[in-house]
């Protein structure tokens, strides 16, 4: 593939003048089309070429608006300006509705689309000049925002580099500007470039075109396919497609390589606002090309549209995203004003760099503070309650091991900012690896098996780890599913196995290597600053693809500080770490932690005896458990000996976190720890520990309302969970994970407040947290100003030093999560709906997308569900809307006692009972054997999915599974 004149392999293309597209192509307004004649620069003999381009300028003129700037759009191969049709129409529509007017010019590159077939071969440098010739001919004035896709991305960037005086911004869709030497180019292109294949695949037949069009998710309609094919109906018209493919600089010797390198390096110097919109399901431009672009333009804002692919312009609403971004950029608000949207407000610029001063500003300690403080202490830091014998680790040993692993990681090339995915079960090993990573400034990626393997794979790939550290199951999954990153094993494998799993190192090796470096006098790298990214945690993904949530060191320290303030976990505290994410912070708080003997993949196997043994091992006063574990602990309490009971009597606090539990379960657990206060927190991956309530608080909240107390549960990952209880006994979902990843949990009582909206009381905000409500309008949108006014239902918005920094490569999502925040303050929209009561307690009423908007107003689901669940025949209910927003009908979907064996309409009497309980019109009551729930907690009901299902049934469709 070193043939630098690949073009010769293509049959000579035929010349043809530019032409207008046929009328009637779907989505293409004939008014946009223009033909322009352009003189070719540096040409001998006055060469002129005809271009076809789309331009909404005349439409803007007709509207009488002045454009604030021009978006110059360049398509790739083998598409044409048709690719950008929705941006032209959206931009014109926006201008017509009074928004800033953007002129959109979308060109057909020469030999492509309906531009001239020049009969020659146009390498990259020529194409970049061609575009410049065109903008000169158009007399294009600034400001110009370039927008490119595929190889059009390179051409547009080339123009951007060459026209700094006009350039105001850069937008790119899946593209690449650099091909690493030694890294193979994408397989589909390799194939297309194969000798004897290039011509037939790209020119003689429409195969390359058809293949590209088949990359859309979902599939393109035939109308749209017809639009894309329109300029390429004959082989004579497809010469440019082959030329483009031939121009891919696969080898260093390729004639276009210098130009590509020039552009790639030029991109590094660009300081204008930059937006990268990306479809990850792209067999050609995979995430590694995105990484390369981000590395060159670190100030770029990035949004990955999960599920979208190479034809992002067809798969996602890129036009809306682009106009939104331009709006910010022009008005100077939000994203545009901060070159680094990731920066913290609380931790001001002064916090950057200098470590000690930075932490003083932050008001917290670094996560490794006590590992340094206590490095000479022989007191217990960690205990693993292994079946054979407890493994006890002193502060001295833990501190040394962390330093050894840290030095080992540095030695094998892990750098600050590198991402390290941890697939290790909770243990001393996990703790040591975690603290080693954060100490050297590597970013830990924590995604748990609760996402399911496909979700986990998507999450890990999206988080693009440079390194994966795992136990056997994690590494096998990594191998089988092709997760990226170098592999490090916590255990030693036989060599063939290690080779098979691509294991480069074991933890033991890293430790030895690290010790050798420390012995040689190597110092650990500079400590990361509070503003440096420390971790990426993943949301549960129960309402869409899991989102990566980035925390800085300062924010993770703030989480541990919140645990200290709320639960008194500090130096000398003995902590039973039955719930991983919080428990991992034990060393950061100077607390000694014990991991009870349990199979972490099956938390419900934790016995009361094991908990008592763990408590006794370190004189624990604080116990963190997952609800699933708590169920079994209560169930196995009979086996406790008097000694065990005595140990448990020393516990002062216990926390059930991670998923819904019932008040009765909490009460039974509390009976085992008679001196302890029982807590459940409210929070989500983006904001752990936002509110907290005790068992007494739950009872007081229940007493404050008229309904009989049903305990219920609440939110995790920002998703409120309907009751997990069935009557009369509590059943906690069997597959709850112990959270080998993140977490934040809850369990709350259900009860109707005096506020008729009802809800689950999750208590008062934690000490450093502020909670406000953004009231819903009549259409169910949370547009109200942030307010603490009681009894107003709206989106719950939180602020705390320990709220997330940002979503990972989800610019749109991040922007939406901060909407309406007071400038200078960092707020997070939780997506939960609820209200504050006059005592300052927060009541959760459901999720934003689950709000029902009827003709008579907005209805939140939890209150009606609670009322329905008071019926003796009902185990669990989901309350949903069907029909158009604004005139939705209310529908109850229920699990009965005993469970139904098949789906059916509720009997007339049951339906009447449900209607009577709810108190507002209920169109239909459907009975199902089981409500669909999320994988992680098996308790959160996806009401949106149920709503789609019920809509089918209630329109007369078949009974399919929900």
């Amino acid at each position: 593939m070193t043939d630098t004149r690949t073009s010769r392999r293509l049959s000579r293309t035929v010349s043809a003048p530019a032409a207008l597209p046929p009328v009637g192509l779907a989505g293409l307004d004939p008014e946009w089309s223009q033909l322009v004649e352009v003189a070719e620069s540096n040409s001998t003999g006055e060469l002129r070429h005809g271009w076809h381009l789309l331009d909404n300028g005349p439409q803007l003129d007709a509207l009488g608006v002045i454009a604030v700037g021009t978006i110059l759009c360049v398509h790739g191969n083998p598409t044409w300006s048709y690719l950008w049709r929705s941006l032209l129409s959206s931009a014109t529509d926006a201008a017509a509705s009074g928004a800033p007017a953007w002129r959109v010019i979308a060109v057909d590159q020469l030999d492509m689309g309906f531009s001239e077939r020049t009969g020659g071969f146009r390498p990259l440098a020529r194409r970049v000049q061609d575009l410049g010739d065109l903008t000169d001919a158009l007399d294009l004035a600034g400001p110009v925002i370039t927008l490119g896709h595929d190889w059009g991305g390179v051409v547009s960037l080339g123009w951007a580099v060459d026209h700094p005086e006009l350039l105001a911004g850069v937008m790119l869709l899946n593209t690449a500007v650099h091909q690493c030497a030694g890294v193979p180019i994408p397989a589909p292109l390799r194939l297309a470039l194969g000798r004897g294949i290039l011509g037939p695949a790209t020119v003689a037949t429409p195969a390359f075109l058809a293949t590209t069009l088949a990359l859309a998710h979902p599939s393109l309609s035939n109308e749209v396919k017809r639009g894309y094919r329109a300029p390429y109906l004959t082989s004579a018209r497809r010469g440019g497609i082959g030329g483009f493919v031939a121009d891919i600089p696969v080898a260093l010797s390729h004639e276009s390589r210098p130009e590509l390198d020039r552009i790639a390096e030029g991109a590094r110097a660009l300081t204008v606002p930059t937006l990268l919109l990306w479809g990850p399901r792209d067999p050609i431009f995979s995430d590694r090309y995105l990484d390369d672009l981000v590395e060159r333009m670190p100030h770029a804002q990035v949004h990955r549209f999960e599920g979208a692919g190479h034809l992002l312009a067809e798969d996602a609403d890129y036009a809306a995203a682009a106009l939104l971004w331009l709006g910010d950029a022009v008005s100077g608000s939000e994203a545009a004003s901060s070159a680094a949207p990731l920066s913290l407000v609380e931790l001001a610029e002064t916090a950057r760099g200098g470590s000690q001063a930075a932490w003083e500003v932050a008001g917290t300690h670094p996560l490794w503070y006590y590992l340094d403080e206590l490095q000479c202490s022989d007191e217990i830091a960690l205990v693993d309650m292994q079946p054979a014998a407890p493994r006890t680790v002193s502060w001295r040993l833990l501190s040394r091991r962390v330093r050894q692993i840290a030095a080992g990681l540095v030695f094998i090339g892990v750098k600050p900012g590198d991402r390290v995915s941890l697939l290790v079960p909770p243990s001393a090993d996990l703790t040591a690896v975690l603290y080693a990573c954060v100490r050297i400034g590597a970013i830990v990626v924590v995604a748990d098996a609760g996402l399911g393997l496909p979700g986990l794979t998507r999450a890990v790939r999206g988080a693009r780890p440079d390194c994966v550290i795992g136990a056997a199951p994690g590494l096998m999954a990594a191998r089988a599913l092709g997760w990226p990153g170098r592999k490090i094993s916590t255990a030693r494998f036989p060599a063939p196995m290690a080779a098979l799993l691509s294991i480069e190192h074991t933890l033991a090796e890293l430790t030895r290597l690290g010790q050798a470096r420390l012995d040689a006098g190597d110092a650990l790298p500079t400590e990361p600053a509070p503003t440096d990214a420390a971790a990426v945690l993943f949301t549960s993904g129960s309402t869409g693809p899991a989102k990566g949530v980035v925390y800085t060191h300062g924010q993770l320290s703030a989480v541990s500080n919140a645990l200290f303030l709320q639960y008194g976990v500090g130096v000398g505290t003995g902590l039973v770490a039955g719930f991983a994410p919080f428990a991992l912070l034990g060393p950061a708080l100077g607390a000694r932690s014990v991991t009870p003997d349990m199979d972490v993949t099956a938390p419900k196997t934790l016995t009361a005896t094991a908990v008592a043994a763990a408590v006794a091992a370190i004189d624990a006063t604080v116990v963190f458990l997952s609800p699933a574990a708590l169920v079994n602990v209560v169930a196995t309490a009979g086996a406790l000996t008097p000694t065990d009971h005595a140990a448990l009597a020393g516990v002062q606090r216990f926390l059930s976190a991670g998923a819904p539990i019932s008040e009765s379960l909490l009460t039974q657990a509390a009976a085992l720890m008679p001196q302890a206060t029982a807590h459940t927190p409210y929070g989500m991956t983006e904001g752990l520990l936002m509110a907290d309530i005790t068992l007494e608080g739950i009872r007081a909240a229940a007493a404050s309302v008229s309904m009989p107390c049903r305990t219920d549960a609440a939110a995790h990952d920002g998703e409120l969970a309907p009751s997990a209880a069935s009557k009369p006994e509590t059943v906690v979902p069997a597959s709850s994970t112990s959270g080998d990843g993140e977490t934040a949990p809850i369990a709350m009582p259900t009860a109707t407040t005096v506020n008729p909206a009802g809800g689950v009381c999750v208590g008062a905000s934690t000490q450093t947290t502020r909670i406000r409500i953004s009231a819903l309008d009549a259409s169910g949108a949370s547009v109200g100003e942030l307010s603490e006014q009681p009894d107003v239902t709206g989106e719950i918005v939180v602020s705390a030093p320990h709220v997330k920094d940002h979503y990972d490569r989800l610019w749109l999502t991040e922007r939406a999560s901060r909407r309406g925040a007071v400038p200078g303050e960092r707020w997070h929209r939780t997506g939960d709906v609820g209200h504050l009561d006059s005592a300052g307690r927060l009541w959760v009423e459901g999720r934003m997308p689950h709000v029902i908007v009827t003709a008579d107003g907005v209805v939140t689901p939890v209150g009606p569900e609670q009322r329905i669940e008071t019926l003796p025949d009902v185990a669990r209910a989901a309350f949903i809307g069907v029909g158009p927003v604004g005139t939705q009908q209310q529908v109850a979907v229920i699990e009965t006692v005993p469970p139904a064996s098949r789906m059916h309409r509720a009997s007339v009497s049951l339906a009447a009972a449900v209607r009577s309980a709810v108190g507002s019109p209920v169109a239909a009551v459907l009975v199902v054997p089981g409500l669909p729930t999320d994988i992680r907690h098996n308790s959160k009901i996806d009401r949106s999915r149920l709503s789609r299902w019920a809509t089918g049934i209630l329109s007369g469709g078949r009974w399919v599974k929900p």
């Binding site: 158009p884 005139t887 309409r905 169109a923 239909a924 209630l954």
Partner: protein, 329 residues
């Protein structure tokens, strides 16, 4: 206000005339039979027999009136297409003309949601324009044409409002309630499909008050069509059960696949068209679609424009129906 109500011997027409009369208006009715109402002036005649005495009865009936509520129509699931045409299209044309000539200023045309219904399910949509091309069956097709011609006559001095009550029922209804109860009693009432399709219906008093409200609102909202329902869609099986329960007969429990019913309905419909006038067929394609797909509507515009809300809830309606059947025992 002086109001002429056509078709007041029918179930809904009688309720409308009574409602308007009870509000203190002077009501005249026009139909072949007696309206059975007291306090109104019955004029007997037909909207289609114009040959001998052009407009004779009708011309008298409409004279001196301020408003006309036109309900008279051929309401049937099948029958002679020519008769639908003559009564529903020709008759409406005649009444509109007579009203215009008599200087009537308000005209409420009582239509049907089926005029804009192409057979698919309707979930929460507002009234779409009447479409004779898409309407199913002779009844819906002719009602669609009649609605269009009535609305075409809308003018500042002749204000036309079209209202489309959906599935009107109540005590004394022979069209829907009696048929359901009779069939259920004799075990001939199946459920089409699984019976979960959401259907919105209109309790008769609500339909009457809505038509009355349209008359009052004609000053401001003329030239438009409004679907009228209780705004309480329920699974069709629940509605049948409610009606059967009120009449103390067993609700249907056996099922016919909806697709089979539609097929059989088409066949029967075709046969009945060739031998019209015998009786109502057991099933038509139109009815099969009505009873196996969702039919509920966005009532926001209706309620806001007409300044009306239904006073009788579905469950209250079932109660009243039950009381009616108990009184007949």
């Amino acid at each position: 206000m002086k109001v002429l109500v056509t078709g007041a011997s029918g179930f809904l027409g009688r309720a409308v005339a009574a409602s308007i009369s009870a509000a203190g208006h002077e009501v005249r009715t026009f139909q072949r039979r007696s309206s059975g109402l007291t306090g109104v002036e019955d004029v007997h005649g037909s909207i289609t027999t114009v040959a001998d005495t052009p407009y004779a009865g009708l011309a008298y009936a409409v004279s001196g009136m301020d408003a006309v509520v036109h309900l008279a129509a051929k309401v049937s699931l099948t029958g002679d297409p020519a008769e639908f045409e003559a009564v529903n299209v020709g008759g409406t044309h005649t009444v509109v003309q007579a009203a215009q000539q008599a200087g009537v200023s308000r005209f409420v045309y009582v239509s049907s949601p089926s005029v804009a219904h192409a057979g698919s399910s309707i979930m929460g949509s507002d009234a779409l324009p009447a479409s004779p091309k898409h309407a199913r069956g002779d009844y819906a097709r002719t009602k669609a044409r009649a609605e269009l011609l009535a609305l075409a006559a809308d003018a500042p001095k002749f204000r036309v409002v079209a209202v489309r009550p959906h599935l009107v029922w109540g005590p004394g209804d022979t069209q829907l309630v009696e048929r359901i109860v009779d069939r259920a009693r004799s075990g001939r009432l199946p459920l089409l499909g699984h019976g979960a399709a959401l259907i919105d219906t209109t309790y008769v008093d609500n339909a009457a008050s809505a038509i009355h409200a349209a008359l009052d609102a004609a000053a401001s909202v003329h030239g438009q069509s409004y679907v009228i329902t209780n705004g309480e869609p329920r699974p069709v099986a629940d509605i049948l059960a409610g009606i059967c329960g009120a009449a103390n007969v067993a609700a249907p429990t056996w099922r016919v696949p909806a697709s089979a019913a539609r097929g059989v309905g088409s066949l029967i419909e075709a046969i009945w068209r060739r031998r019209p006038g015998v009786d109502e067929p057991p099933m038509t394609r139109f009815l099969a679609e009505q009873l196996s797909t969702a039919h509920w509507f966005d009532q926001r515009r209706t309620r806001a424009d007409l300044g009306w809300t239904p006073a009788v809830s579905l469950d209250e309606g079932f109660e009243r129906l039950a009381a009616h059947y108990r009184a007949r025992l």
